[in-house]
Amino acid sequence: MSETVSIRVRSTVSRRFPRGFVPRVAPAAITLVVMVVILLICTVMQPRVLSTIGLTLVFSSIVPIVFAALAQMTIMSVGDIDLGIGAFIGLVTGVSASMLKTSPLIGALILVGLVVAYAMVGALVQWRKVPSLIATLGASFVWLGIGLTFLPTPGGEPPQWLLSYAAWTPPLFPVPVVVVVVAVALVWLLTQRTGWGTQVRALGSNPIALARSGTSLLLTRMSAYALAGVLGILGGLALSGQIASGDVNASSDYTLVSVAAVILGGGTFFGGRAGVWGALFGASTLGLLTVLLTLLNLPSALQPAIEGAIVFLALAGRLVVEKVVK
């Protein structure tokens, strides 16, 4: 009796979804559930969280983390890992609070140069067969150094347009949520619906096949790193707008947080997969967690421990659900 039921359940599931869809989507879905639960707990504690202004306040601190996670996701989709994204975002806040304010043109040129520099790190990884872990680690020292050159001590002021963006609170919709959703949708289109996106994911899953199809591995990896650089710059601008200053060390923990966000969203270290929405849910979960811990008014020393425990719980929950789905 029970066997018939399980067979019926399985056949309905398989009829409704293409093969491999459920195991691929389940991790991101679970993280989404965790995210919603944390948001609900926040709302219970402080009902105004769900108002437009509440969501704006909550999500403005999450926007930079989401961009960091998207950048990390892009690098991880080619099978690499980026240990420099935290320092890079800090560098961008430094540029934003110094050059971009005083001489916008030079500031913009510097940002373009930084994207090129990011692509060069990708070129080093591909051309010299260097492990990405150590290449991006070396690059992180360079980012930190350049950042300190522009802004030796935290402070400065970002350009006016960035401040007015950060202060913009239209009554109808929370700006940061819209920004995040639009950014994620664009990256999703780019990685899932374009030929270039397919090449990037192929570089992560089967570089030999990609090389034999006549695609330049070097250019593909460089362009993936360039996209990560662009996302890092957007994250840095968002962060400097949010803190209304620059701080080269403000985002040093983004590196590992972004990796955790991608993994929470169902990403892997083996490349070939670009879980864009998963990265969004993972980053939002970790960001909301900080908000929740602030609302709980816990001693600040305890906060990292609870963050660590929640990461374990989310991943353990994912394991349980994966077993059930199988």
Binding site: L124, A135, V311
Partner: protein
């Protein structure tokens, strides 16, 4: 039979770069090379200890990495001082510090083995939990390291720190263990091909778990020694996370696992410590120092990346191998 034109040990480059930096320091300051080298030796052992644990973890296969070492070192520093002060025994303090590392590793290992959490996330999360303890302990902490332990880490013979000699012997022991013991061969086998090791009735999960315990214990030990050498602080271990990974990889250990090069750790650690003293000597700002350090690491990678690697036996297949005609591929030798 096809052979590579020549093969050199994987640790060569790390020593070449260390010597190059040493020569630069002598050229810049006019100080004697021996003095510079000996003063570097005071800091190298700590990095070598942490990096040895990191190397064993990384060698256990792709994805394995221990990012909790920094938090463990910081907490172990406080714990060793606190325990040594309350019990009056430096040894108990050191043992407690090692215990901190083992306990952290236990949390990571449980998550990695039973919940399939990727190691980088598992060790990150356990490191976060550890850092919460560090923050709680550091509040109003007053205590200084045991004088005996302080004297031990500063003891020298003919200008060479005793600790450096002991850690060198330890490194030789690790190298022998990897080459000649069943455990060492199993560890490298798991790192090279986990599936094949599983069929050979090696239990990969156990071997992988053991590397995290060793890494945790070594990080705890380093924290205890460092707290006696410097002083306990919340960021005692911060620099050791990225440095330990960098030193391991520059030393020639494969980031994808299966090849551990203990000798390279010494080259890499000397390179890093000498690099830091060079950067201090040139008197640049913090900004310039970081840029120079990063560019030098990237230059090292650029130079070492395309050069021939160690002998055939430990060579791993890379995508380019597929493009080599089948006849030209080396045949395995019994």
């Amino acid at each position: 039979m096809f052979r590579r034109p020549f093969s050199i040990p994987a640790w060569t480059y790390s020593f070449v770069f260390a010597i190059a930096v040493l020569i630069l320091i002598v050229a810049v300051t006019g100080r004697g090379g021996t003095t510079t080298f000996l003063s570097a030796l005071a800091l190298v052992p700590y990095l070598v200890l942490v990096a040895t644990g990191q190397m064993l973890v990384i060698s256990a296969g792709p994805g394995n990495i221990d990012v909790s070492v920094a938090s463990v070192i910081s907490l172990a520093g406080y714990v060793s001082v606190a325990v040594a002060t309350s019990t009056g025994s430096a040894l108990l303090g050191v043992l407690a510090a090692v215990g901190v590392g083992l306990a952290t590793a236990l949390v990571s290992v449980l998550a990695i083995t039973f919940a399939s959490v990727p190691p980088i996330v598992a060790t990150l999360a356990s490191g976060l939990i550890v850092s919460a303890f560090t923050l709680s302990m550091s509040n109003g902490f007053s205590g200084t390291a045991d004088p005996g332990l302080h004297a031990f880490v500063n003891a020298q013979v003919l200008g060479v720190p005793w600790l450096a000699i002991l850690v060198l012997l330890f490194s030789i022991g690790v190298a022998l263990m990897l080459a000649f013991t069943v455990y060492g061969r199993r560890l490298l086998a798991v790192g090279q091909a986990r599936g094949a090791a599983d069929y050979a009735r090696i239990r990969p999960a156990r071997v992988v778990a053991s590397t995290y315990f060793i890494s945790g214990a070594l990080a705890g030990l380093t924290g205890a020694l460092l707290s006696a050498f410097i002083a306990p602080s919340t960021d005692l271990g911060t620099d050791y996370l990225l440095d330990s990974i960098a030193v391991v990889v520059i030393g020639g250990t494969l980031i994808s696992g299966g090849r551990a090069v203990p000798a390279g750790i010494w080259g890499g650690a000397l390179f890093f410590v000498l690099l830091d003293s060079l950067l201090n000597l040139v008197g640049w700002s913090l900004a310039g120092q970081n840029i120079l350090k990063g560019l030098l690491i990237l230059a090292v990678l650029f130079l070492a990346g395309g050069l021939p690697r160690m002998g055939r036996r430990n060579r791993r297949s890379s995508p380019t191998d597929e493009l080599v005609p089948a006849g030209a591929l080396p045949t395995p030798v019994a």
